[in-house]
Subunit: 248 residues, 2 copies
Amino acid sequence: MATVWPISNGRPKIRSGANTSSGRALVITCGVPSKPRSSCPIGWGAQCYLRHMVGDRSQRRRDVLETSTNLLHEGGWAALTMREVAARTGVSAGALYQWFDGKDEIYAELFTARLNRGIAQFDAMPDDLPFDDVLASMLRWVQTTWITLGRWQLDYSDIARGREPGQARSALSEAYRHILEVGSVKLQAAAEREGRRFLDDLDTMHMIWGIAAGIAQRAEILQMETERVDQMMERAVRSLSAGLTESA
Amino acid sequence: MATVWPISNGRPKIRSGANTSSGRALVITCGVPSKPRSSCPIGWGAQCYLRHMVGDRSQRRRDVLETSTNLLHEGGWAALTMREVAARTGVSAGALYQWFDGKDEIYAELFTARLNRGIAQFDAMPDDLPFDDVLASMLRWVQTTWITLGRWQLDYSDIARGREPGQARSALSEAYRHILEVGSVKLQAAAEREGRRFLDDLDTMHMIWGIAAGIAQRAEILQMETERVDQMMERAVRSLSAGLTESA
C-alpha cells in the first residue's frame, strides 16, 4: 500500500495522473524541480523516480482494493469511504472516482474477485467427492465469504439499488449467477454418483447460500468458538443432505 | 407521531404524545414555571399543567420505543441515535439516558419485547400441528423478526460487547434462551406425535434461527417477491425436516 506524504515544507506529495507506457503512474511533486534526480532537495532522488515508474495504474488500483478491504475489516461498512481510500492510497479523489463511482463499486469489485476465486475452487473440486462433502465445502466457502465480505452485502445493495446499474454491479451479478451454476453442477454430479438426484428447483442454490451465511452470522452474533461453529455447519450439512436429494 | 415546534420566545413546544383517558395528549413545555397554573405566561395554565401530569413516565418510555422502531425502519441502524430519539419524543437527553445507556439498550428492549411476543405465539400453537408445520411457523416467525428487527442484531452486538453487560442485555439473552427452549419443546412434542425424535443437539435451535434469518436476508438482498420467498422457506422446511429428526 502506498504511503501518503502530505505536502508541507517542500515534502513530496503523491498525486495521480501521468500516463506512462505501462499505464498511469504516480506523480510526485514537492514544489522543487527534481530533474536531474540528484537535485532532489529531500534526497529522495532515485527512490522518487523509482516510485514514479512502479506506481502504475494497475498497481494503484490494487492498492485501492487492498486498502478498501483493510478499511472494511477495521471498521466495517461505515469505515469504507472514498475520502479515506483516497487519503490512504494517495490516489486523488478525481482519479478514484474515475475508477469507481462510489464505495459500492469498490465493494462490488472486491466481491466479484472473491466469487471468481470461489468459482475456480469449486471447479477444482475432486470429481469423486461425496455429495455431503461437496455441500460441506460450499457451506464453508460461503461462511468464509460472509465473514470476509458478505456481511456488508445488504449495505451494498441498499446503495446499489439506488443508482443506475453499472459495470461493477453487472459483473457481480454475473459472478454470483456463475458460482451458483457451478455449485449446482457439482452437487448434481455428486448426487448422481450416489444414485440420487439433486433437487435444484425453486432457488435451491440461493437457499443454500442463505443458510450458510445465516449460520455464519448467528455464530458471529453469539461469538461462538470455531469448533462450535464447525459442529453447527456439519449439523447443517447432515440436516440438509437428505432433503436436497431424492432417489434418481 | 407528535409534531415538534421549536421553543422560541416563550412559545410552547409540543413534545411527545401521552395517553389520557380520552386518547393521546401532548406534553407542552414553555420554559416558564407553570405552578401555580395561573402564572402560565401564555395563558395555557391549566391545560399545560394537565398535560404535564398525563405525560407519565411509562407512556413516554413507550414513545421512545415506538420512535426508535420508526427510526430503524426509516433509516436503519445509523438513523437510530439518542439525539434523534430525544428530539422526536421531546424527552430530554438526561431523562433518556436515565432509561437507556445507549441506543443498544433501546434496541435490546425492543428485541426482548419481540421475543416475548414470539414466546407467547409459540406457546399458543395448537397441540396437534405436524412437525413440518411447527418448523415452518418458527422459520416464518424468525424471518419476520429478521425483517423488522433482527437485521441490526450484528450492529447491536458490535456495540453491546464493548460495554459492561446491563439489564437490557441480560433480559435479551434470557428471552432468546427462552424462545429457543419453547421452540425446542414444541418441535420435540410434534416429532413424538409422529413417532420421531427431534435431534436437538449441537446448537440445533441456533442453527434453525440462523437458517431462517439467512434466507430472509438473501431474499432481501436479491429483492425477491413474497411468493418466491415463501416458496424458498417451504423448500427449506422440506429440506430440513427429515434431517432434524430420526425414528424414535
